[in-house]
């Protein structure tokens, strides 16, 4: 009995591998596949889903692409990298094995860094959407990205803080998180150069008690609380900041530009300032289009966190999709190797977050960030200014 159960179970499973997944290789001739490498669970699950939404919306706007005179249907292959560096490798491998032509993602730099070698080994071009850590593209020939980098973002934030009279910063990052640790590092560097003073601390993962960190910032007499951490932790920090009357502005990076933050901050006495890629209203056509799309897709609204407020990463995801389409057109082929050849010289205009072209490391030539402030009365973002480097 046992033998048969086990045997049949194994056989059944093994069948799926070659039948189910193998079906991928036998897909329609006229389909081109785009791999979406994003977290749907774990710390960055919320952000990853919003980024995927942008890609899905773009796909609904432009479901086909003409490559070398032939019309192709674009199919998205989405895998969950679980915000986990060790799961990222196999997730990336499963994309490669499903014959995608290009990979988009990920939200969160750690997983992209972890997967970079897998993509490099397979010669698979990858376009980072919102991974801002410089290490993603450094020393990797196949990884490109369409967002700005942390050294830039850190400098912008430090400048903003210093210009607004803040002299002592409390910097909180998450232990083992490339993104927050990296950004804090660049912020500290820039802030110290300007003459500021910093207190740096890190919290362990799975931590949900931020009472003491908020108390530490108050005790140290800081002027600004800088914590560019994941939105999960962010909501808890905002909550504690309110409970203990933090009394200083909270400064953060692109991850905080999310409706999770505005939702958490709504009705609370906190001041939140972030730098980001896109400001709602920057491209009315896109805003209206995606809102209409949200109306038709209740599931998309759920993935967006229950409302239709736009996150910057959604706009970036939308851009990434069109960058991929342009790459197909320029290459005139769906072969990853051909696409890889044209990417370094690719220039894409007409995107919602600004034109994209890549420098020699594969990073986008972008030099402006949007500074936004959270309006805690109605839970929306208020545009402060556009900040360029220096």
């Amino acid at each position: 009995m046992k033998k048969i159960t086990v045997l049949s179970l194994i056989l059944m499973l093994a069948m799926t591998a070659f039948v189910g997944c193998g079906g991928g290789s036998g897909a329609d001739e006229d389909t081109v596949r785009i791999g979406v490498f994003e977290p749907a669970s774990g710390d960055n699950g919320a952000g990853g889903k919003q980024e995927v939404l942008g890609i899905q919306y773009a796909n609904s706007v432009q479901p086909t692409v003409e490559i070398d005179g032939k019309e192709y249907k674009v199919e998205l292959v989405i895998v969950d990298n679980e915000s986990d560096n060790s799961k990222a490798v196999t997730a990336a491998e499963s994309l490669v094995s499903q014959d995608v032509s290009i990979v988009l993602g990920s939200y969160g730099s750690g997983v992209s860094i972890a997967a970079a070698d897998t993509f490099a080994k397979a010669g698979m071009p990858a376009v980072g959407v919102s991974c801002t850590n410089p290490q993603v593209t450094a020393d990797c020939d196949v990884y490109f990205r369409i967002c700005f980098l942390d050294p830039f973002q850190g400098t912008v934030l430090a400048n903003y803080a210093y210009e607004n009279g803040m002299r002592k910063a409390y910097c909180l990052s998450k232990l083992g998180d490339d993104y927050s640790v990296g950004l804090v590092n660049y912020f500290v560097e820039a802030f110290k150069e300007l003459g500021g003073e910093v207190v740096e601390e890190q919290f362990p993962d799975k931590n949900s008690d931020f009472t003491s960190y908020v108390a530490n910032a108050k005790k140290a007499g800081c002027d600004v609380f800088f914590s560019p951490v994941s939105t999960e932790a962010a909501a808890l920090i905002i909550d504690q900041a309110e409970a203990q009357s933090l009394g200083m502005p909270i400064l953060a990076g692109d991850t905080w530009d999310s409706n999770v933050i505005t939702g958490a901050a709504k009705g609370k006495n906190v001041e939140i300032v972030v730098t980001t890629f896109y400001q709602e209203g920057g491209n009315p056509e896109f805003d209206e289009g995606i809102k209409a799309w949200f109306d038709e897709n209740p599931e998309a609204v759920t993935n967006n966190g229950g409302n239709t407020d736009l996150a910057a990463v959604t706009a970036l995801g939308y851009d990434a999709y069109f960058v991929a389409l342009e790459a197909f057109k320029a290459a005139g082929s769906t072969d990853p190797a051909d696409i890889l050849k044209v990417l370094p010289t690719l220039e894409v205009t007409g995107l919602v977050c600004g034109d994209v072209s890549f420098n020699e490391t594969g990073d986008a030539n972008k030099s402006e960030a949007f500074v936004k402030k959270c309006n805690t009365e109605d839970g929306t973002w208020e545009f402060i200014k556009k900040q360029t480097a220096n």
């Binding site: 009995m1 046992k2 033998k3 048969i4 086990v6 045997l7 194994i10 059944m12 499973l13 093994a14 069948m15 799926t16 591998a17 070659f18 039948v19 189910g20 997944c21 193998g22 991928g24 290789s25 749907a40 669970s41 292959v77 895998v79 969950d80 986990d84 560096n85 060790s86 799961k87 490798v89 196999t90 491998e93 499963s94 490669v96 094995s97 499903q98 014959d99 750690g110 860094i113 972890a114 970079a116 070698d117 897998t118 397979a122 410089p134 290490q135 450094a138 020393d139 998450k174 232990l175 083992g176 998180d177 490339d178 640790v181 990296g182 590092n185 740096e200 890190q202 362990p204 993962d205």
Partner: protein
């Protein structure tokens, strides 16, 4: 009818099987098969081999020595780091340790040996740090063993789990950044090129574990597992053997950590959580506690299902079935339910405490579901046999207990233990469940 094969035949079969397996991997790895599923196959083989090794090492401890330790992920973490730190090429130090001015170790063993010995040095350069990783972990395990092994079962489990968590925090500590790169990933270190490498290394290590278990030491381990007091009475040095098992198990966990580092090409401390230890433990359980070949089979099945076969469950289409309930996360639910079913209904796992043998395989093959006619009888016979075994076990248990009580009485009354004790034939068994 049971078939018994000759030793020569068995050896030949083993050689052929291993050779075929290696050739298959080599061919798939070098793209000799068309079809992209083969890429996934290779990935699963690599990861499966690595987890087979760590599962076997955990089995040595939990299944053969009866020490319930949950520190495996911590030891793997340490092995992974100590391998990676020493093999990052000098030129990459500045990018890897970008926040720590290039770190304090500015060289790579691989490069040093490569310059001296060429290509042989390259492989030696991978091999030595890997062994070093194992030794370092074994050393730390020895230090931990002194206090921890005094504890019994669940206390030991929770203490080792605690050590693993402490290790994780330690490796992420910013102050150690110039060596461990703090919270940031280590990358760019030298890795293996061919999938054959982890398979062979893991294979050799598992073979060593296997040989160890069948040696005098292995028998001592099993004696400790079955009855500590009896083992001690037989002259087995408890602490020596327990710490030996702990250290050896950690050594192989360290090696598998190093292999995992090579497989992933980047390493950070975050994923080495208790969750990872639990997964390794579940592999051991699926394969059968007390069976090394079971652990190996379990590791490949676990990896293949989790990373490959069941992935379709997350994307809404699996085995041709499409359903709304198949959204991200469904794979893990199904997987967890499967595991619970194994734990509850097939507690012995796939192999029980038996090892793979060609005899069993051949006989199993002959008795495969093909011969369905003989089924009902066979089932009945099986259940009868099981019932008998259970009763016999209960009787033996009760007897052992009484013996122990008796011997204790003897001990306290000063009568030497060696005088044969009168055995009572009537044993009353209390059914714990019944009232």
């Amino acid at each position: 009818m049971e078939i018994k094969l000759k030793n020569k035949t068995k050896a030949a079969l083993s050689t052929i099987a291993i050779a075929l397996f290696l050739i298959l991997i080599y061919a798939a790895d070098n793209g000799m098969f068309s079809g992209s599923s083969w890429r996934m196959f290779i990935t699963v083989i690599e990861k499966g081999a690595i987890f087979a090794l760590v599962a076997a090492s955990m089995n040595l401890l939990n299944g053969f020595t009866g020490l319930f330790s949950l520190g495996q992920a911590g030891f793997m973490l340490m092995g992974a780091y100590s391998y990676a730190i020493f093999t990052i090429p000098a030129a990459s130090h500045d990018t890897v340790y970008q926040y720590f001015d290039g770190g304090i170790i500015k060289w790579s063993i691989v490069e040093i040996l490569e310059n001296k010995m060429g290509i042989a040095g390259h492989y030696l350069g991978i091999f030595l740090p890997m062994i070093f990783a194992g030794l370092l972990v074994a050393g730390v395990a020895y230090l931990i063993a002194i206090p921890v092994l005094r504890l019994k079962s669940d206390y030991l489990a929770i203490a080792t789990l605690g050590f693993a968590e402490i290790l994780r925090a330690f490796f992420q500590w910013n102050t150690l950044g110039p060596v461990t790169n703090g919270s940031n990933v280590l990358r760019k270190y030298t890795t293996y090129e061919s999938a054959i490498f982890p398979v062979i290394i893991a294979g050799i290590c598992i073979a060593i574990i296997f040989l160890l278990i069948n040696s005098t030491y292995g028998r001592a381990f099993k004696a400790i597992r079955d009855d500590e007091i009896a083992a001690e009475a037989m002259g087995i040095n408890l602490f020596k053997h327990k710490s030996m098992s702990f250290v050896i198990s950690s050594f192989f966990a360290g090696i598998s950590g190093a292999l995992l580092a090579m497989f992933q090409t980047t390493i950070s401390a975050t994923p080495f959580t208790t969750q990872m230890t639990y997964e390794i433990l579940l592999i051991v359980v699926i394969g059968g506690i007390g069976s090394i070949s079971g652990s190996v089979i379990g590791a490949f099945l676990f990896t293949a299902s989790a990373e490959w076969w069941l992935r379709g469950l997350d994307s809404g289409r699996w085995l041709g079935i499409s359903s709304g309930i198949m959204r991200p996360g469904f794979r893990k639910v199904v997987f967890a339910i499967l595991i619970m079913m194994i734990v509850l209904f097939y507690a012995r796992g796939i192999m029980g405490d038996k090892e793979f043998s060609w005899d069993r395989f051949v006989n199993w093959w002959r008795s495969r579901p093909g011969a369905i006619k003989a089924w009902p009888d066979k089932l009945k016979a099986n259940s009868e046999a099981r019932k008998k075994a259970r009763t016999a076990k209960a009787v033996a248990k009760a007897k052992a207990k009484e013996d122990k009580a008796d011997s204790e009485k003897k001990k306290s009354s000063g009568i030497p233990l060696f005088t044969p004790l009168p055995m009572s034939d009537e044993v009353i068994i209390f059914d714990k469940e019944g009232n």
